[in-house]
């Protein structure tokens, strides 16, 4: 595994959690109830903490080292390597929960492996802390999927549509390029094929419990890992980055 492959792996971890964190932060003051408003922003803050750790490590590996802030605020959309799923707009509460649920299960499986490997102890330490947080995220989003799916006819139909709409972005989670393959071969990353089987079985269990189904014959979309994003990312980044770009180095 080369330095640049390890950087890709770290940027993907960091960008996934950063972009999702920003999206969840957009719910602040807008969630359906106060308690859920706090829950979503708590999760956003967990993800932001993970982002800081991953991006700090990534920045140290660059030939011209960069801080986590520089990576977060001074890269353009084409330099971000997050999954397309995570940059999708919040939509309604069910859309946000569906996006979160599909990612949380994936993230738990990936980070559990990162915590147990001994190839890179820095990453293992970050992951060991993150696993506890992600377990709670899985719990939170899974219970909501069941509540909505098993709730009223309207909530059932709406969360089913959310799952259907977002399903096309799930294939990308398990696609590997050279960096991923190198990570897997070194033992840092899990084997994506078996991770996909495990993910599908867990997702299916919860959807079954919720009375929901997995959509069939969906054309998968990808590109996020290569910096080819949907238009939503640049719009989101514009808001996220405007202040540090207008006032570089500002402190408050």
């Amino acid at each position: 595994m080369t330095n640049s492959q390890l950087t890709d792996i770290l940027l993907r971890l960091g960008d996934d959690s950063l972009v999702l964190s920003q999206r969840l932060g957009e719910w602040c003051g807008h969630a359906p109830i106060l308690e859920e408003d706090i829950a979503l922003t708590n999760i956003a803050l967990d993800l932001l903490g993970q982002t800081q750790s991953y991006l700090t490590l990534a920045g140290n590996l660059l030939s011209e080292t960069k801080t986590d802030d520089e990576l977060a605020f001074h890269r353009d959309a084409t330099d971000f390597q997050n999954l397309l799923l995570l940059e999708q707009p919040n939509g309604h509460f069910g859309d946000t929960i569906a996006r979160q649920f599909l990612f949380d299960i994936f993230s738990l499986l990936k980070v559990q492996h990162l915590a147990s490997q001994s190839v890179n102890t820095d990453i293992a330490a970050i992951a060991a802390k993150a696993v506890k947080e992600i377990r709670y995220h899985v719990d939170h989003s899974s219970k909501w999927v069941v509540r909505l799916g098993d709730g009223t006819p309207e909530s059932h139909d709406r969360i089913q549509k959310s799952i259907n709409d977002l399903w096309k972005f799930t294939g990308e989670m398990f696609m590997c390029d050279e960096s991923d393959n190198a990570g897997t071969q070194a033992g840092l990353l899990p084997d994506y094929t078996s991770m996909k089987i495990e993910w599908l079985s867990r997702v299916e269990d919860t959807l079954n419990e919720a009375g929901l189904t997995i959509p069939e014959n969906v054309d998968m979309k990808s590109g996020g890992r290569r910096g080819q994003h949907t238009e939503h990312l640049s719009i989101m980044l514009e808001e996220m980055q405007v202040l540090p770009r207008l006032h570089p180095g500002a402190n408050w």
Binding site: I33, L34, E35, E36, D37, I38, A39, K143
Partner: protein, 95 residues
């Protein structure tokens, strides 16, 4: 944010092992499981607790303020009942 019809729950947090649960506030939730989750998010995110109880507010019976004379005044003038003459050893923490 809209109002909802979810029931109100009273939240009790145990801040440390060995201490008793204390009432910290209330919140709305559809069921007990959600109430625990919400309590975790609303009341323990700054390391306030190691244990949570949630109780449906409707299940709590409280004394009426109108009855306070009858309930509490009689204890006031019976100094011999007040356990203030004893010095507690330091080891008996949190009694």
């Amino acid at each position: 944010m809209s109002n909802n019809n979810w029931p109100l729950w009273e939240v009790f947090i145990r801040s440390k092992q060995g201490l008793s649960h204390r009432h910290v506030g209330s919140l709305h939730a559809a069921d007990a499981e959600m109430a625990i989750g919400n309590a975790r998010d609303v009341y323990t995110r700054r390391q306030e607790g190691v244990g949570i109880w949630v109780v449906p507010a409707s299940d709590i019976t409280s004394s009426s303020p109108d009855d306070s004379e009858k309930l509490f005044d009689p204890a006031n003038d019976k100094v011999y009942r007040h356990p203030t003459f004893f010095v507690l050893p330091k080891e008996v923490d949190h009694m």
